[in-house]
């Protein structure tokens, strides 16, 4: 049986005390243990940011990529080895700003992996500049007179671009978040999980109290995740109560399903010289 300690190592976390990232990781460990997934069967691909710094104190295969690039690196690894569970992580800056193009297009593919965005509505590792999800008018180091840009609603983008599992969690809600992780990871297809994450050091507006007051959990009676029109509305909901839970879910062939080449042994186990003698004939 996999235990919480299997996912721990001896490195000490460098997040600020009270940072929402602690909850995000605790819930993830919980979910992985519930799923009984041993750490060597998991690959985490990290972005650069406070979120990605967690790579140092999470005991699983890890690839700490570049800012905004965790998705394509994760895609390469997943295609190479379908047997590996792959989760890509990003901050809202890396995920929706620097890596915005990858986000849109990975949704289209419906590749069978999970994308977790630590959404603190700010660039935190770079000490607090506006991000694509910062509220309009938010005063940050880079926008002292208020952010002039409108915030993205990334989950609306995810639904319309073709992600087949879309949900939102809150870093302080460990139990609910662990359940969402499990669903996202077990979903066959591309799952996008946006996690509201208090940054106690730089975001003094969207605080944990603010999130607690401004969110509410979707119930099954309230919303059927197969209802795409409603999902799009809920994914754009912000100024009233921000919905938490599964917003959209659909079964659709995955990217891998389109490739008979991917059936059978993973590509990692097939590397060998290939006889291309037949291919030369077409050139004569």
């Amino acid at each position: 049986m996999t235990q919480i300690s299997d996912y721990m190592n001896s490195y000490r976390a460098t997040w600020c005390p009270g940072c929402g990232n602690f909850g995000i990781w605790a819930a993830l460990r919980r979910a992985l243990v519930d799923m009984d997934l041993p750490p060597h069967k998991l690959l985490c691909v990290y972005d650069i940011g406070c979120s990605g710094n967690g790579s140092n104190w999470f005991h699983a295969y890890g690839f700490h990529s570049l800012h905004g690039r965790s998705l394509p690196a994760a895609m390469g690894a997943k295609l190479a080895n379908r047997e590996q569970t792959v989760i890509a992580f990003a901050g809202d800056g890396g995920g929706f700003g620097e890596g915005g193009n990858h986000f849109l297009h990975t949704c289209r593919t419906n590749i069978d992996m999970t994308y977790v965005v630590h959404d603190n509505q700010l660039y935190s590792l770079t000490t607090g500049q506006a991000s694509p999800t910062s509220d309009q008018g938010m005063e940050t180091k880079s926008t002292p007179t208020g952010d002039p840009d409108r915030p993205l609603r990334p989950l609306q983008l995810a639904v319309s671009a073709g992600a087949t599992w879309v949900g939102r969690g809150f870093a302080d809600d460990l139990v609910g978040l662990a359940q969402l992780y499990r669903q996202a990871i077990e979903h066959k297809g591309f799952a996008v999980l946006d996690v509201l994450q208090p940054c106690v050091t730089f975001n003094h507006f969207n605080t944990r109290e603010w999130y607690a007051q401004h969110t509410h959990k979707l119930t099954e009676q309230e919303h059927n995740p197969a209802d795409k029109a409603k999902a799009l509305l809920l994914a754009g909901e912000w100024n009233g109560k921000i919905p938490l839970g599964v917003i959209y879910r659909e079964q659709r062939p995955t990217y891998e399903d389109h490739f008979p080449q991917l059936a059978g042994k993973p590509l990692t186990q097939r590397v060998a010289a290939r006889d291309v003698g037949q291919l030369i004939e077409q050139f004569r």
Partner: protein, 581 residues
């Protein structure tokens, strides 16, 4: 200008979209089926229709490595072709033109034999569509050359084999109409040139550098190919995508070049073989990830086929203008390998070498080509698909890793290479980190142990260079052992140098199929006894000469440079060299 006497050169020109390249392919296939060897070379604009385009086919009884400047038979599908290319036609040559397309006076061109080919009428009589004009031209040319009709039909049947009997018949009819017209009206017996087909077993394959590297990538066991289209690299993507059913390779066209290189790196990290190709502009977008490959010590194989820059530049022309960029590309100070194949054989081999070096030394390997080598087609009678040896370097197995608690992915070793553990293997858990890291991959930032570790890690990555240099493809000498002057080529200038040597007594050449890191020892050995060293480069500033001098102190006596978007022609190069002798 010196003249290549053993080569016959045919060239067809017209508006883009008139099928010059298909005509060239037909002409070449007809030649190889009659035991001749060919070199096809096209100049065309980066637009789908319109603009001026030419395809040239050089023909000889021997393998050819570059196209002639001089043309023996020019086919002008429009008037512009005569205006632009008549000067290239030799005094004993001829011009076949379509009279219905000519408005001006042809008096100025009377020093050449001029043959009017009424393509429109011939097509009408044969009830064929205008699209077959190029086949009429090929037929007329081969009629004038008194070539075998049966071999011509055979070539057309092979070329259009996949398109159905109707297409084959129509194209044969068009070619035959041209052939008959030439036989009747052009007095072939009085033309200075004739091509006599001889029986041949299997005709030689006709390969571009891109075809050869596609085969090389497939042969080397690549499982995931990922590329964003960009001339002149795109045909590699087309080849590999087209072959996917046969090769069982996964081919992906991602959203942009940045994604392409990250997908490749992710796949290599996971432990398969993955490759990508692009041109200079696309690689510019990939540079940050080049550094990612270096820092995480993840193998990478990237093909860069250059075109003249900067920016969008000249998409369909050629230049060796990206060498300095690639030697220095990306932030930070780290080793990389740059291979520079000069012909399809070297391109095929480079793919296998690149994968082996990338995996053994866990670093980025770039295969640098350019439009001239990527897109020119050679008949290669001796091309052999020697299966490459697969060397994957140090990969820790499950049994070696059993019981390991904290795997030291970046263990400090004498050769700088630490064993990899592939995700999924028990006992191999580690972090591959784009942050500077200690031996397990954890970030080091604090000054305490960090500073010394940083130094050690830089040295560890750099140590690989020393060990890999002996494994690089060696400089090769072309031509005689003794010479008054030695040309130094890299990449695509090899073929031109080889042809130029045939026109130059007492001259030889040294070609470098790998330029970075500079294999100094092997190069000095090859340059022993050189009297006069002349670098030949397709760029303005002499980029290789610059890095050669910087890294080794070796300086050429002269540099021959060309940067108008064309490669050198053998006659042109020979003349420039003669001036130095």
């Amino acid at each position: 200008m010196p003249h290549r006497r053993d080569v016959f050169t045919w060239k067809i020109g017209g508006v883009g979209g008139q099928g010059q390249q298909a005509a060239g392919a037909t002409f070449a296939k007809a030649c190889t089926r009659g035991n001749f060897l060919t070199f096809n070379y096209s100049e065309y604009p980066s637009i789908i229709r319109g603009g001026h385009g030419t395809t040239q086919v050089d023909v000889a009884p021997r393998p050819l490595t570059a196209p002639s400047a001089a043309v023996n038979l020019l086919v002008a599908l429009n008037e512009e072709t005569i205006q632009l290319h008549a000067a290239e036609v030799t005094h004993d040559g001829a011009i076949i033109y379509d009279g219905s397309k000519i408005t001006g006076d042809l008096k100025a061109y009377r020093r050449h034999k001029l043959f009017n080919l009424p393509i429109g009428n011939l097509l009408q009589d044969a009830k064929l569509p205008p699209i077959s004009a190029n086949m009429v031209a090929v037929g007329a040319s081969l009629g004038l050359l008194r070539y075998s009709q049966a071999v011509l039909h055979h070539a057309i049947a092979d070329l259009f084999a996949g398109k159905g009997q109707g297409t084959i018949d129509a194209n044969i009819a068009a070619a035959q109409a041209g052939y008959d017209h030439a036989t009747k009206h052009f007095q072939p017996a009085r033309f200075a040139f004739t091509l006599r087909a001889k029986p041949v077993g299997k005709p030689a394959p006709l390969l571009t550098g891109n075809d050869a590297i596609s085969l090389g990538i497939a042969a080397a066991g690549c499982q995931l190919y990922v590329a964003y289209p960009m001339s002149p690299s795109s045909s590699i993507l087309h080849n590999l995508a087209g072959w996917a059913k046969t090769t069982n390779m996964v081919v992906r066209q991602p959203e942009d070049e940045i994604a392409a290189i990250h997908v490749a790196i992710g796949a290599m990290f996971a432990g398969t073989r993955s490759a990508l190709a692009t041109s200079g502009g696309g690689f510019a977008l990939m540079t940050e990830a080049l550094a990612l490959s270096a820092m995480t010590e993840t193998p990478l194989v990237a093909v860069v086929s250059s075109r003249p820059g900067p920016a969008t530049g000249l998409p369909t022309w050629t230049e060796q203008g990206d060498l300095k960029f690639l030697v220095n590309a990306a932030h930070g100070d780290f080793p990389r390998v740059i291979l520079t194949p000069g012909d399809p054989e070297e391109a095929f081999a480079a793919a296998g070498t690149a994968f082996n070096l990338a995996e053994k030394y866990q670093l980025p390997v770039i295969i640098l080509m350019d439009k001239f080598v990527s897109e020119s087609t050679r008949a290669l009678p001796h091309f052999t698909l020697t299966p490459p040896e697969i060397e994957r370097g140090k990969i820790a197995t499950a049994s070696e890793l059993a019981g390991t608690k904290e795997f030291a992915r970046y263990a400090l070793t004498a050769d700088g290479v630490s064993p990899r553990a592939l995700p999924g293997t028990e006992g191999g858990i580690h972090l591959a980190n784009s942050d500077e890291h200690e031996e397990h991959g954890f970030a080091v930032e604090s000054f305490g142990g960090g500073a010394l570790l940083r130094q050690r890690m830089v040295e560890k990555r750099a140590a690989k260079v020393r060990h890999l240099i002996p494994e690089l493809p060696k400089p090769v000498r072309l031509g005689p052992a003794k010479a008054k002057l030695t040309l130094l080529s890299w990449g695509s200038t090899k073929g031109v140098a080889e042809e130029a040597l045939r026109l130059l007594p007492y001259v030889n050449a040294v070609h470098m199929p790998a330029v970075w890191p500079i294999p100094e020892h092997a190069l000095r050995h090859a340059l022993n006894h050189v009297q006069q060293l002349v670098t030949v480069e397709n760029n303005f500033s002499g980029q290789f000469a610059t890095i050669l001098r910087g890294a080794t102190g070796i300086a050429p006596d002269h540099q021959l440079l060309k940067y108008n978007g064309q490669q050198f022609f053998p006659e042109e190069l020979a003349e420039k060299v003669k001036a130095l002798l």
